[in-house]
């Protein structure tokens, strides 16, 4: 289904107000044309009735022989008079006179009563005629165009046919044109209506824009809050309702920030305080006489230390390096992989970036190292490939493990989540590596996503880094 209603508040407000105005204008146009038009028309009819009566009086006094000459004088564009020996039959139309015709006849009669003294036989027929372009009085090209194309919107042009039996028994037929007042009005009304609509829309667009702009800013800020709760508070502005929403949002942001900081501080403090006892335990473990036992202790301590270390890192992986610098990504990856190869791990790097990338160097190194370490831990080896189309830098780290179910792709980024059942915990790890990597990627305006290799042999972790730094980052 096609959606007709606009989605934005701006569009909707504009639509509602615009439709309201249009309806109001149409209603006033209707009143103008139908009601006022008809009263103007009635007034005009009275005038014509008087003219018809005056003409009939004149003809009554003029001898039949001179009437033709007088007719010349009396005929005009709006009133044509024909003399006839017997009544003519007006074609079309019902037998009954309609109220207009009756009113017209009565008006003629009223004005004739004086000289005749007795009732005069008058027949009037109002004949409706569709205007033809030449018929209309519209003088401007727009008026003619309207009359030609929209005649069905206009009231018909009328010719009032009045027959008066003169004293000598002959019949005078008066063809009187009823003015086309409503048409003229419509012609001037439409441009006025269009102009009013245009001005109105411009004003509404301005005002609604002023109201919705702070909301758009708010939405942007809410998005940014997710990525970085440390952002500056929003400037309070706009209408009172919007301003209070912004103020509420700022309060919420500061609460969220407080909460995040509190959580980080707490976990950081615990992790930090664990360092001294772990150091002691490491020393004690080293001095155990039983080699096998010692190794087990050392392994447990390694694991504990890693948890403590990565917890601290997780809460402080951002912000320590405010500067972004151009970094040689190929050198970074080759250095990392070489370090891993020295420990006996299998790692390769393929592909090359087009140019250095604008990064926080230490953070990006940590991010990539975490991805490689993860691949080695769970997938046996890490094959890194670099793709760069000039706009986006993509670094994929592929392992040769069994992969993970698609449903778990997002869950493994959560802190302390490890998929024990499918991958075992042979490698240990605190379950923070991917979360840290993603934090760092998002700090750079990018992201880390997981997918299984198309051939089902291994998991691919892809770091996507946009070349255009995110605004405000």
């Amino acid at each position: 289904m096609i959606r007709l209603a606009p989605r934005s508040l701006f569009g909707r407000t504009l639509l509602v107000l615009g439709a309201g105005l249009l309806l109001a204008q149409l209603a006033s146009l209707f009143i103008n044309v139908v009601d006022r038009g008809s009263s103007v028309y009635r007034l005009a009819s009275q005038q014509i009735a008087i003219r018809v009566a005056e003409a009939a009086k004149v003809l009554n006094h003029v001898p039949a022989a001179e009437r033709a000459g007088v007719l010349e004088e009396l005929n005009s564009r709006d009133l044509r008079i024909v003399l006839s020996a017997k009544p003519i039959v007006v074609p079309q139309g019902p037998e009954e006179l309609d109220p207009y015709e009756r009113a017209f006849a009565a008006a003629v009669q009223r004005n004739l009563r004086e000289p005749w003294q007795t009732d005069v036989e008058i027949t009037t027929r109002l004949r409706s005629v569709r205007p033809s372009p030449s018929d209309t009085e519209a003088s401007t090209p727009l008026g003619q165009w309207l009359a030609r194309n929209f005649y069905f919107l206009l009231p018909d042009t009328f010719t009032m046919v009045t027959q008066v039996r003169l004293v000598d028994g002959s019949i005078a037929v008066f063809y009187a044109r009823v003015p086309q007042e409503p048409l003229k009005r419509l012609e001037t009304l439409i441009p006025r209506l269009l102009l009013a609509l245009l001005i109105f829309f411009a004003l509404v667009a301005l005002v609604v824009g002023m109201m919705t702009r702070p909301l758009a800013r708010l939405a942007k800020a809410a998005d940014a809050l997710g990525a970085n709760p440390e952002g500056p508070p929003l400037e309070i502005g706009g209408p009172r309702e919007v301003a209070s929403v912004i103020a509420a949002f700022n309060r919420m942001q500061s609460q969220v920030r407080g909460y995040v900081q509190e959580r980080a501080r707490l976990l950081g403090a615990i992790s930090h305080d664990l360092k001294t006892p772990i150091t002691r335990m490491r020393l004690r473990a080293e001095m155990l006489p039983d080699g096998a036992l010692r190794d087990k202790f050392v392994r447990d301590l390694d694991e504990m230390e890693e948890m403590v270390g990565s917890t601290l890192e997780f809460f402080s992986s951002l912000g320590k390096e405010p500067e972004r610098r151009q970094v040689d990504i190929a050198a970074l990856l080759e250095g990392l992989c070489e370090d891993w190869r020295e420990t006996g791990a299998e790692t390769t790097v393929s592909g090359a970036p087009r140019s250095p990338y604008d990064a926080h160097p230490q953070a990006l190194r940590r991010c990539l190292n975490n991805l490689i370490e993860n691949a080695l831990r769970y997938g046996g080896r890490a094959d890194v490939s670099i793709e760069d189309d000039g706009n986006t830098l993509r670094i994929a780290v592929r392992d040769r493990g069994p992969g993970i179910p698609e449903a778990e792709f997002e869950r493994v980024f959560e802190p302390f989540v490890r998929l024990e059942d499918s991958r075992g915990r042979a490698g240990g790890g605190a379950g923070l590596g991917l979360g840290i990597a993603r934090n760092i990627a998002r700090w750079h305006g990018g992201d880390v996503t997981l997918r299984n290799a198309p051939d089902g042999q291994g998991l691919i972790a892809e770091l996507v880094l946009p070349r255009q730094p995110a605004a405000g980052a």
Partner: protein
């Protein structure tokens, strides 16, 4: 067996102090202990240790100040220990003249290895003392704290661990011919076997990082039958 090395351990945690003493003693060190700056000075007055293991967080005068103080008076190698494992500490530690830096909770084996390595370096080839953690040579800057290179055009070139250690050895001994054995020892902590080409491989990688032409290198030059030499002046920049 080589004569016993004398280590001075300065830490305010009594248990860690005692445990370290016992551990190091088992691995052939003669150990003195100090709880804070005052005791450290007294111990230094009594004897001259070969190496100092110094905790950063000490009551009273902190480890960084003590390290700078010690460095001003003697060239005894110092390994700093800290519970704060962040970059800033490493920068400051290196600025204050520490030879190495280890974050708590450290592995005792790692500490032992670093102590031995620092001692070996101090004996085999006393490094040109540098203050500041950034060293500039031939337009390049080596950042000892961040462990990366900055190219003349400002691009950051991250280094792998071995690359970094090898380059550190070169910039600590500028314009001095280093043979393969010395480089192996200082970089990888082992002797080169007669057919071992790993140093050559590392040097060629390093030249690549430094955008140095392998056929006509300008920065790290090959000395026929000798080894390699960093053919550039090194200056300290903050």
């Amino acid at each position: 067996m080589e004569p016993q090395d004398h280590a001075l351990v300065v830490d305010d945690d009594a248990e860690i102090r005692d445990l370290l003493a016992e551990y190091l003693a088992r691995h052939g060190f003669r150990v003195s202990l100090a709880r804070d700056g005052r005791e450290m000075r007294r111990a230094l007055d009594e004897s001259r240790p070969d190496i100092v293991v110094l905790d950063v967080m000490l009551p009273g005068e902190d480890g960084l100040a003590l390290c700078r103080d010690l460095r001003a008076k003697s060239s005894i190698p110092v390994i700093m220990l800290t519970a704060r494992g962040d970059e800033l500490d490493r920068i400051i530690g290196i600025e204050m003249g520490a030879d190495d830096y280890l974050a708590k909770p450290f592995s005792p084996r790692e500490l032992l290895a670093r102590m031995k390595s620092v001692l070996r370096r101090a004996r085999a080839l006393p490094p040109t003392r540098v203050e500041g953690h950034r060293l500039r040579f031939a337009g390049w800057t080596l950042d000892l704290a961040a462990r990366h290179l900055v190219a003349p055009d400002g691009v950051v070139v991250p280094l792998g661990g071995t690359e970094f250690r090898l380059l550190s050895v070169f910039v600590e001994h500028p314009q001095r011919v280093l043979d393969r054995n010395q480089l192996m020892d200082l970089t990888l902590g082992r002797e080169a076997t007669p057919l071992d080409r790993s140093i050559d491989v590392q040097v060629s990688r390093l030249r690549q990082r430094l955008r140095d032409d392998a056929r006509e290198p300008r920065i790290i030059k090959t000395v026929r039958n000798g080894g390699y030499v960093l053919a550039a002046n090194v200056e300290r920049v903050g």
